[in-house]
């Protein structure tokens, strides 16, 4: 069985973002970047499946500037096998990414796609569902548990109000939630080995995908700031606030 994992290079989740001076985007120059946390979970899950003997190969795909190859190497160091880098300079949109991934799925005879439920930069939460839609494959989104037996995937999904279990026929698309697993740290020998793994670089045109962005970003601004808070002395003062100012008592 062959797994495809899509990884996105994003601003590190610990970074406090800044908006650029033209107010058209978030500043990404000289900012620490890393693999989208949900994608790390996807890579980890793929590697665990491989370690259990159910998977022969893990293919990693990333889209963007040359630097995304660093992110792909991180996936290699965790245990992924080889990569395809789609070189692209602009802003990616989920529909565009889904179309690219569909092409790769078709070319590579993929049995299972695992990807993060959302990227922490655009917070869209769309790509996996879109890919499943255009492939006419079943989807298991926001999953916290995955079991693959023969040609089936049993998934537990995190839904509003609790959990839901589905049984999906392979091939299918899975998107990971936070509690699926704890991603491993790459060891130094594996980081060294990752340098030798193959990345094929190609453009969207070479892959045969044409896409013009549908969403135009008009502006990016800071959310309204809250007025400065006040320190309270004790519980009595807290109760007074609840009663007189918030009016909930």
């Amino acid at each position: 069985m062959k797994i495809l994992v899509a990884v996105k290079r994003v601003i590190d989740y610990n970074v406090k973002i800044r908006i650029n001076s033209e107010r058209t985007a978030v500043e990404t120059n000289n900012v620490k970047m890393s693999m989208n946390p949900f994608d790390e979970i996807a890579v980890e899950e793929a590697v665990r499946l491989k370690e259990s003997g159910k998977v022969d190969e893990i293919l990693v795909v990333s889209i963007g500037q040359r630097k995304v190859q660093e992110t792909m190497r991180t996936a290699f160091a965790m245990g992924a096998d080889r990569g395809i880098h789609i070189s692209y300079e602009g802003e990616t949109e989920p529909l565009m990414v889904a179309k690219i991934l569909k092409k790769i799925v078709d070319n590579e005879n993929i049995d299972l796609v695992i990807m993060g439920k959302q990227a922490i930069d655009d917070d869209s939460n769309q790509t996996g569902q879109m890919l499943a839609g255009i492939l006419s494959w079943p989807q298991g989104t926001f999953i916290s548990k995955l079991e693959v037996v023969d040609k089936n995937a049993s998934v537990t999904r995190e839904i509003d109000g609790g959990l839901e279990t589905l049984k999906l026929n392979l091939p299918c698309v899975i998107t990971t939630d936070l509690r699926l697993n704890e991603p491993r740290y790459a060891s130094l020998p594996n980081i060294m080995k990752a340098k030798r793994k193959e990345i094929v670089e190609m453009s969207m045109a070479e892959l045969g995908v044409e896409y013009t962005n549908r969403l135009k970003i008009i502006k990016v601004e800071e959310p309204p700031t809250r007025s400065e808070g006040r320190k309270l002395e004790d519980v009595t003062e807290l109760i007074n606030i609840l009663r007189d100012e918030v009016g909930v008592l």
């Binding site: 989920p94 655009d122 989807q139 609790g162 839901e164 008009i218």
Partner: protein, 308 residues
């Protein structure tokens, strides 16, 4: 221009957040239909009474679970003459809508917090640390709505027609197995006026129960930070934040929560935020309207006692 709103219900009652989704739809058009999947009589009549709705379309069928694979083609067909299709950005909408949009070759607009015009919307990005205004060039727009950003329309006063919709086809390659919902008598988190939320500072699932009497006294829902969920103090559906639920109650009490940006993304639009934490440097105090520095294990019982 007509808007199709997709309703979410559990077959007993309509998800209240749909009323906020209709409010967002009304900012685009006066011509709004609502699509219900296998609605009970109660859900259908609740939908018909919502102010501003013209038709309630009921797609009957054997809908065990709510598989996107089954529902997406029904939505595509039902929305043939709609310019916009909208849903609440809960897990139901997030799972379903992108599949629908992709089938229609449209780039969905996720989690909008404001409508500028029929093509232009505002949506939070980077865990709510920036607001992007985006203009869509797609002829048909698929949108999920951040319910807390729109004032719910009235649930009474409307008089829509109830019409029969298309019947969903049985799924072929995916199967619903079961659903395990957490039971609670408390208000639903995303609809609660008051939320009492606990973090890692609570220390254990046993200790987390210290919040119960306080929530009961205030008629509040209970929420949690990711740290508290990951540590196993409460189940994941309590989680407030970028990856959990987005809430905006009248009052948010953050107890033993440090205030990581991922948590703030889920609650910083609350009207009043009160933080209780023993670390006076905790980032939560930077956004709290009122902060009380001290040990929650002293403060909460004292607070509960004095509320009697």
């Amino acid at each position: 221009m007509s808007v199709l709103v997709i309703a979410e219900s559990n077959n007993e009652y309509l998800d209240r957040n749909v009323l906020s989704c209709v409010a967002a739809a009304l900012e685009i058009s006066e011509d709004i239909d609502i699509l219900v999947f296998d609605g009970s009589e109660k859900v259908l009549s609740d939908c018909a009474k919502i102010k501003g709705i013209k038709n309630v379309i009921n797609s009957k069928g054997n809908l065990v679970g709510t598989l996107a694979e089954v529902l997406a083609p029904v939505i595509i067909e039902t929305a043939k003459n709609s310019s916009h299709v909208m849903m609440v950005a809960g897990t139901f909408g997030k799972n379903l809508m992108p599949r629908v949009a992709a089938l229609a070759d449209s780039q969905q607009i996720s989690d909008i917090s404001a409508v500028i015009d029929s093509d232009t919307f505002v949506r939070p990005i980077y865990a709510g640390n920036a607001l992007a205004t985006v203009k869509s060039s797609d002829s048909k727009k698929f949108i999920t709505v951040r319910a807390t950003a729109f004032q719910a329309v009235e649930s009474e006063g409307g008089n829509a027609n109830i019409v029969e919709g298309l019947q969903p086809k049985d799924p072929s390659n995916s199967k619903f197995v079961n659903r395990d919902l957490s039971e609670s008598d408390r208000p639903e988190l995303t609809a609660a006026k008051i939320i009492v939320s606990g973090g890692r500072g609570l220390g254990s699932s046993e200790n987390f129960k210290i919040l119960d009497p306080l929530a009961d006294k205030l008629g509040a829902a209970i929420g949690a930070s990711r740290a508290a969920v990951d540590a196993g103090y409460v189940s994941n559906d309590y989680q407030v934040g970028q990856t959990g639920k987005v809430v905006a109650p009248e009052l948010y009490l953050a107890i033993g929560i440090s205030g990581a940006i991922q948590h703030l993304a889920g609650m910083k639009d609350s009207k009043v935020i009160i933080a209780i934490n023993k670390d006076e440097e905790a980032p939560i105090f930077q956004i709290a309207d009122y902060g009380l520095v001290g040990d929650l294990f002293d403060i909460i019982p004292e607070l509960v006692k004095k509320l009697d």
